[in-house]
């Protein structure tokens, strides 16, 4: 008798994402699916809007990574105008993007995932949150709040507002940076470095305690994709794409992201609003790839900043070839935070950073444009078509989290196969299913909005729909 387990939000009315697990006659897991249950329709609703509204509009896709959308969108608009933006504007946008990655990584690691790491996967759900971490490890919690705040304050200092600032515009940015603001940021760099390094040291001490999770949390071969500089270093703003395989071998390199329709496909599943991109030459679903911190650190030749490079050297020793366990997204995220702080420091100390030449102006000169950057969660792509008046006629967006859709599904399956047996479901299994999804830091508000700890109800159903076993969280 085959059975289906549904991990459903707390009641029918809660639904943002769900997980279903299929068992065979012998009580073994045969499949598991992650369903995203919200849809927002940006690709259509932007139709008819002036193209220069797009950065502000698409920032509203996501309040966790609005800057990522601002950047990718503004780059797409630059392409429509066919302008080369002033170098200082490039640097300022980069600082903004790095600050965004810093704050978002802090949110993911400290606010959302550290409760699992500090209190344990089997801890009482009542305490498994940031406030619980404050009680158990106040220094870590305060470092997290501080680092997120630092990232957000850099954004506010540059762009005037922490969330949905209007400063990034087609052609550059709307105002130059002032010396006092730059100094206010640079002054706090040493403190930021100290806090990230302290957290890294802590993480390196404790991750060994999670052996079973490391072995089963999305630990499988896949491709990894991300931007790199011309020298193969970590790149968050420009650059070209590189794809490596599970052994770390380069599959393709320095691919112009604008060619994506030739080699990237998007498949639709009947049971999720999240589409599943795949690498066309390997087909679907074999063309599974991962993006984001783990992918980026797997595919580069070096990071490109001194402290992060030291840490990266250790990270590289985790496994031969690419590091395959998605559990280590956490590790990669912390190393990237170090990179962000170092790189912000470098950029802000550049000789031209205070230049007031920060914006190129032009009417639209091309009817189609593509813009790509790295968001906290991975490669983000915007693609627009406009009419002669500059009004939007079409848009396609491949969101960072979407790239990981196939991998998240496969990871849920792997965790379920390892932790679910027969007709019994226990609390630990639920926590771990949540936790594996969380390693990807899915920014589902880009397509749905279940961030943090998903409310869950697990039901074990007989084929006729009879509830055989039920477990609620909380």
């Amino acid at each position: 008798m085959s059975q289906t387990i549904t991990i459903d939000p707390v009641t029918r009315i809660e639904g943002h994402s769900k997980i279903t697990i299929q068992l065979d006659d012998a009580g073994r897991v045969t499949s598991a699916r992650f369903h995203v249950t919200q849809f927002r329709g940006f690709e259509k609703l932007v139709e008819g809007r002036p193209f220069h509204e797009m950065p502000s509009l698409t920032a509203r896709i996501c309040g966790i990574c609005p800057v990522s959308h601002l950047i990718a969108s503004a780059k797409t608009c630059d392409a429509l105008m066919a302008v080369q933006i002033p170098p200082t504007a490039v640097d300022l946008r980069q600082v903004l993007n790095l600050a965004q990655i810093l704050q978002s990584h802090a949110l993911s690691f400290f606010h959302l995932s550290s409760p699992d790491l500090v209190l344990g996967m089997d801890a009482n759900p009542e305490q498994r949150n940031l406030f619980g971490v404050v009680g158990q490890n106040p220094e870590l919690a305060r470092d997290g709040i501080w680092l997120r705040q630092f990232g957000q304050e850099i954004i506010a200092l540059l762009a005037g507002k922490r969330i949905h600032p209007a400063w990034v515009v087609p052609g550059g940015v709307s105002a130059p940076l002032t010396a006092d603001r730059r100094d206010a940021i640079v002054q706090r760099i040493p403190d930021a470095l100290l806090r990230v390094r302290r957290t890294l040291d802590w993480y390196k001490q404790i991750f060994g305690d999670f052996g079973a999770e490391i072995r089963t949390f999305g630990n499988f071969p896949s491709l990894f994709m991300g931007l790199v500089t011309g020298k193969g270093e970590l790149e968050m703003y420009d650059g070209n794409l590189r794809i490596v395989d599970a052994t770390g071998r380069i599959v393709v390199d320095q691919v112009d992201p604008r060619t994506y329709p030739e080699w990237m496909g998007e498949a639709v599943e009947p049971d999720s609003y999240l589409k599943s991109p795949y690498y066309k030459p390997l087909g679907y679903p074999d063309g599974i790839y991962r993006v984001g911190p783990l992918a980026r650190l797997n595919l580069i030749d070096r990071v490109g900043t001194p402290l992060a490079d030291e840490e990266w050297a250790e990270f590289r020793m985790l496994e031969r070839g690419a590091t395959l366990s998605s559990f280590q997204y956490h590790y990669a995220r912390l190393i990237e935070m170090l990179f962000c702080v170092e790189k912000i420091d470098q950029l802000l100390n550049g000789p031209e950073i205070l230049s007031d030449h920060v914006r190129a102006k032009a009417d639209p000169n091309r009817m189609e444009g593509i813009g790509v950057s790295e968001a906290p969660r991975g490669t983000l792509l915007h693609h627009y078509k406009i009419d002669r008046k500059g009004l939007m006629v079409w848009a396609n967006m491949i969101i960072a989290t979407g790239n990981n859709s196939l991998a998240m599904n496969k990871s849920v399956y792997q965790v379920a196969r390892h932790f679910v047996h027969g007709d019994r479901i226990d609390q630990g299994m639920l926590n771990r299913v949540e936790a594996v999804i969380r390693t990807y830091d899915p920014c589902l508000s880009c397509s749905t909005h279940a961030f943090g700890q998903m409310p869950m109800r697990v039901q074990l159903l007989a084929p006729d729909g009879e509830v055989l076993h039920e477990l609620k969280r909380g």
Binding site: V10, R12, I13, E14, G15, H16, K18, T20, T37, Q38, F39, R40, G41, E43, K44, L45, V46, E47, R60, I61, C62, G63, I64, P66, L107, H111, P125, E126, R128, N129, L130, F131, V134, R142, I145, R148, Q149, Q152, R162, I163, H164, G265, E266, A267, V268, E269, P270, D271, S272, Y273, K275, S445, H449, A450, F451, Q453, P455, K472, R473, G474
Partner: protein, 178 residues
């Protein structure tokens, strides 16, 4: 649980920016935690909306069947319901899809912009409603905090006033699109 007031935050069709702005009160979140228990929120691990909550902040418009049922449930179990941010207050960005038919919006994503297995997802996922509407068109709302998102200071102000049993005076502090 303690005798502190009960606070909840709910997320409908929004971008999470209002929740992020709430987190932007930074360390003051510990002050809030001293006055109230965050009993239900995407940020904490409690899975059930409690029997009665003193204050619930709602982000986002009502766009899907899930949103619709959820907000009605939340209203029944909340003393003071706060529309947090322009999406909750006016339906803002989500409402921009209202000038198209739902089918056309889905069509763009799942037929035109897909390369394999083109189809509209219908299994497991909730249906979209024809229109995306503000919260107060579905249930009565007690306090409106506009802004996209409202600033952390304004959220902190509104919250501490409400926790002190006063009605926050927001007209001079924030406005639509702030």
């Amino acid at each position: 649980m303690s005798d502190k007031l009960k606070l909840a935050t709910v997320w409908l069709d929004g971008c999470s920016g209002c929740h992020m702005s709430f987190l932007d009160i930074d360390e003051r979140i510990l002050d809030v935690a001293a006055l109230a228990d965050l009993v239900y929120s995407p940020l904490v691990d409690n899975k059930h909306f409690p029997e009665m909550v003193d204050i619930t902040l709602v982000e986002g418009a009502v766009s899907s069947e899930d949103d619709y049922h959820k907000i009605r449930h939340v209203r029944q179990h909340t003393r003071i319901l706060v529309s947090l941010g322009d999406c909750a207050v006016t339906a803002n960005v989500p409402a921009m899809r209202n000038r198209f038919k739902v089918e056309a919006v889905l069509d763009r994503a799942y037929f035109e912009n897909a390369t394999l297995n083109q189809q509209i997802p219908v299994e497991v996922v909730p249906q979209l409603r024809k229109q995306s509407i503000p919260v107060h068109q579905v249930v009565p709302v007690d306090v409106f905090v506009p802004g996209c998102p409202p600033s952390a200071d304004n959220i902190f102000y509104a919250l501490t006033e409400l926790l002190a049993g006063r009605t926050p005076e927001l007209r001079t502090r924030t406005h639509f699109g702030a």
